[in-house]
Amino acid sequence: MNDILIKILKIIGIVVISPLVGGFLSGLDRKISARLQGRKGPSILQPFYDVRKLLQKEQIRVNSAYRFYVYLSLLFIIFTVVLIIMGGDLLLAIFVLTIGSLMFVLGGYASSSPYSNIGSERELLQMMAYEPCVLLVAIGLYYQSGSFFVKDIIAQDKPAIIYLPAIFLAFVYILTFKLRKSPFDLSMSHHGHQEIVKGITTEFSGEDLAIIEITHWYETIMALSFVYIFVAFSSPISHLYAVLACFAAFILEIIIDNACARVTWKTALSSAWGVTFFFGAANLIVLSLLSKF
């Protein structure tokens, strides 16, 4: 009975804390970006102010159905985050993540607005671009550790990154898609950036937009938790390193965001697939050779 209680408390903790951390990271992102551009930038709590405001705004809509998908999307992303952090099956988490992202895309389609439609198609393209790599991360980890369960992977004697350095690099490459950073922010982008109005979010406002923003916070945590899984292992101190690695990856993404211009969809797709294919194949082949000796 106590076990279940602790589990429930843990889940509640994850659901509450991860958006706070995600929002904080998002604020940090804006602050650092501003500094990189020679500006002072907004307060670090700005994302929370934005969401608080959005929740207070009047609710407008273009039709009866499209708002619903955003809430479903949030729900599935939360499911993913909980699943990963609780040490669950990584592959199942990826499948749930796919549904979550897909619901968001459907929301864009359902609004029947030309701008949202284009945004949705681009978002879908991005999903197609990063999906192989995400699957490959799970496969690589399973191949190396023999388990899809996060709790088993991070309980190994050595960190997974030692065996999977190339797959880790490929993942960092597609992390840019997931965090919606330049050069791969085709479907929607952050802060002041614009792309075909506001891409997939064009028709969402007020509460719905706040939900999309919160979903993105969860997504940030989810994406960074992959980095965590690569670095953490059985020694307790490694978890500190893993957190630092996540942080470093995030800072790296901010720098890339500010240093790169947006690319065309063809470049985005072919480079993501190319990197995934070469790094993934090379890593798996080396790993299979190593396991023979």
Binding site: E58, Q59, I60, R61, V62, N63, S64, A65, Y66, F68, Y69, Y71, L72, L75, F76, F79, D89, L92, F95, V96, T98, I99, L102, V105, L106, G108, Y109, A110, S112, S113, P114, N117, S120, E121, L124, L125, M127, M128, A129, E131, P132, C133, L135, L136, I139, Y142, Y143, F148, V197, T202, E203, K266, L269, W273, F277, G280, A281, L284, I285, S288
Partner: protein
């Protein structure tokens, strides 16, 4: 109870004959409904009999002889028909194949079998696998037959230029189902071959139904490719009889995979690959789209393509790490990737479904080629889930065509205004094909595990990229379905037979998510245990099953909880953003010079990127087949 088996193949055929003879529409329709129900009932009865375990003994000697002689007569008749039709339409390759096959088989049956005294001990194989196949053929096939009754009514109202030959159409469908049931139950290779040829012929007749030039061309292409496969099958039987002295499938697969045994295995696999439309033989299945939709549904989900898969499943002990197994794995994998990418470039719903069928069969065949318990578990579940979901999708698209007079996915943004239930059916079908708590993904998950455990790195890479492409083409279709274009279109009559059939399909697709652990533990795992001799475990752990069921309930409950909110309509309704130039109907905008233009948005097809994938896919598959053929011949000569 072998009589039951004979009944389940012969009764559809008898009803087919009746359908063919009787030309009164009401009687004919009722006969077809009766046939559909009969097929369903018969398959369920077979399954029950198997469960009760009273399935021993064989048919009387006499009956076998009568059937053998009847088969010879029918084979000759079929050959004459094909030669006649081939000459009539100036297509000579298909008759050529027949002319080679018929004497070969007659000689084999009359001379070799007698001389070598080849006996058949087990006439019928009824194990878990054949029960699954019988249920798929019976239930899904029967539902398709039921749908046909309603479908053909409006089909002829809409297509006045096509001559009305419903009797013939109904008869062929029933015959098809009968032959298919036989195919999955018989153990005698000659009998399987006979059913195999009947299915080839039936598909030929169904594809050519409209008698238009395109239909005739495509039907002959299908016939040629399938007869080519049939030739490989026949050669395999002759080789088996001469060298291995058996004409029983169960004995063949019990042999050790030496070079001599692998030759018939390769020939049978070749036949299976043509039937399952793998690269480079995929063109016939794409051409089959010209036929009325029920026949496409039948070809793609329950019968025809599943015949090839079934044969490979039976042969799986000879696959695995043998050369034949490796090549089957590779061809399946290449097919999965290439067909998935090609599906992105299509706008015709039926062609998307066709490519998706080819891709999924590729995945199934990859799993069978690997032939570990996990992989076969995945393959069997892929077969089940694919049959149900794909049939639902095909039948829905047939009905969409009726409502919208178009099969183009881009036009489906208007579907919501015409028929909400069709949108829901299609969404369930599509979700069943690739989304997480639904069937296909469960098996894909197991497949992925099996590929890694068997160290097939190339297949893993293929699966990763293929899955991404799958996600893309299904989701963009879903996007069109959920779009609310607001256009008002005329509604057409939605026939009761079609509605019932679609509804049962949808229920089956959904319930598969709940029932799969049960099917796994009661049917599939025992089958694998018999086959491998050790107890296999389900690749999906119990905890994950519970999580998936939780997800599934989330998906089900949420739309329900959303209904009251959407009725009260919280919030103010505004126009969609069109840079302030929205005319007011969310469809058109004020363009320059005072012109009002309508917005159109079409899906993304990427033809320039993925257009020529097919060529490379064919090339790789042809080369690998030639390579393995050379290796095998070299192996025998050595």
């Amino acid at each position: 109870m072998p009589y039951l088996v004979l009944c389940s193949t012969l009764i559809p055929v008898a009803l087919a004959l009746l359908c063919f003879v009787i030309r009164v529409d009401i009687v004919r329709n009722s006969l077809m409904r009766l046939g559909a129900l009969g097929v369903i009932a018969m398959s369920i009865m077979t399954a029950f009999n198997f469960w009760n375990g009273d399935f021993q003994g064989d048919a009387a000697e006499k009956a076998i002889h009568i059937i053998d002689s009847a088969m010879v007569i029918i084979e000759i008749a079929i050959a004459l028909l094909i030669v006649f039709l081939g000459i009539k339409h100036k297509k000579y390759i298909a008759p050529l194949f027949t002319v080679i096959q018929l004497p070969l088989m007659l000689w084999f049956e009359r001379a070799v079998v007698k001389e070598k005294e080849l006996e058949v001990d087990r006439l019928i194989v009824l194990d878990q696998l054949s029960v699954i196949m019988v249920l798929i053929v019976g239930v899904v096939g029967g539902l398709i037959a039921l749908y046909t009754v309603g479908y053909m009514k409006w089909y002829h109202n809409l297509h006045k230029e096509v001559k009305e030959q419903k009797s013939y159409f109904f008869a062929v469908i029933l015959m098809f189902l009968g032959a298919m049931t036989g195919l999955v139950l018989f153990n005698n290779l000659i009998w399987i071959y006979f059913c195999w040829e009947i299915t080839s012929l039936s598909s030929f007749l169904l594809i050519g139904y409209t008698k238009k030039d395109e239909a005739v061309d495509n039907s002959f292409r299908a016939l040629t490719i399938n007869l080519g496969g049939g030739l490989a099958f026949a050669l395999g039987i002759v080789y088996c009889g001469m060298k291995l002295e058996t004409i029983e499938l169960s004995r063949l697969i019990a042999l050790n995979p030496t070079a001599t045994v692998l030759v018939p295995a390769f020939l049978f696999s070749l036949a299976a690959l043509t039937k399952s439309a793998q690269f480079p033989f995929q063109s016939w299945l794409l051409g089959a789209m010209v036929a009325p939709t029920p026949s496409s549904a039948l070809l793609h989900s329950a019968t025809m393509v599943k015949a090839g898969v079934y044969l490979l499943l039976r042969l799986s002990p000879l696959l695995g790490t043998t050369n034949v197994g490796r090549i089957v794995t590779l061809i399946g994998g290449i097919t999965f990737l290439a067909a998935s990418l090609l599906a992105i470039t299509q706008s015709d719903a039926k062609r998307i479904l066709a490519y998706s069928t080819i891709a999924n069969l590729g995945l199934i065949i990859t799993c069978i080629g690997i032939a570990t318990p996990e992989a076969l578990w995945a393959a069997i579940f892929l077969v089940i889930f694919h049959a149900v979901s794909k049939s639902l999708l095909f039948l829905s698209v047939g009905e969409v065509e009726h409502q919208l007079h178009s099969r183009d996915v881009d036009d489906m943004s208007n579907l919501y205004g015409v028929s909400k239930s069709l949108v829901i059916f299609l969404l369930i079908g599509i979700a069943g094909m690739f989304l997480a708590p639904f069937g296909m993904l469960i098996s894909k998950w197991a497949a992925m595990k099996a590929f890694i455990d068997s160290n097939n790195l190339h297949i893993i890479m293929i699966l990763c990229f293929g899955s991404a492409a799958t996600l893309f083409y299904w989701t963009k279709w879903m996007g069109k379905l959920v779009a609310l274009s607001g256009k008002k279109l005329e509604k057409h009559h939605f026939h009761m037979d079609e509605r019932i059939s679609l509804f049962i399909h949808a229920v089956l697709t959904l319930s598969a998510c709940f029932l799969f652990p049960l099917v796994s533990s009661k049917v599939v795992l025992p089958y694998l245990q018999n086959m491998f001799g050790f107890s296999a475990n389900s690749p999906i752990s119990q905890g994950n099953v519970w999580l998936m069921i939780a997800m599934f309930s989330l998906l089900l409950i949420l739309p329900v909880s959303f209904i009251p909110i959407s009725k009260k309509q919280k919030g103010r309704e505004v126009l969609t953003y069109m840079a302030g130039e929205n005319v007011g109907d969310n469809k058109s905008f004020n363009a320059s010079l005072g012109v009002t233009r309508e917005t159109t948005s079409v899906n993304w097809y990427m033809k320039d990127v993925f257009g020529n994938i097919g060529f490379w896919g064919n090339l790789i598959c042809i080369f690998s087949m030639i390579a393995v053929a050379v290796i095998l011949i070299w192996g025998i000569l050595k």
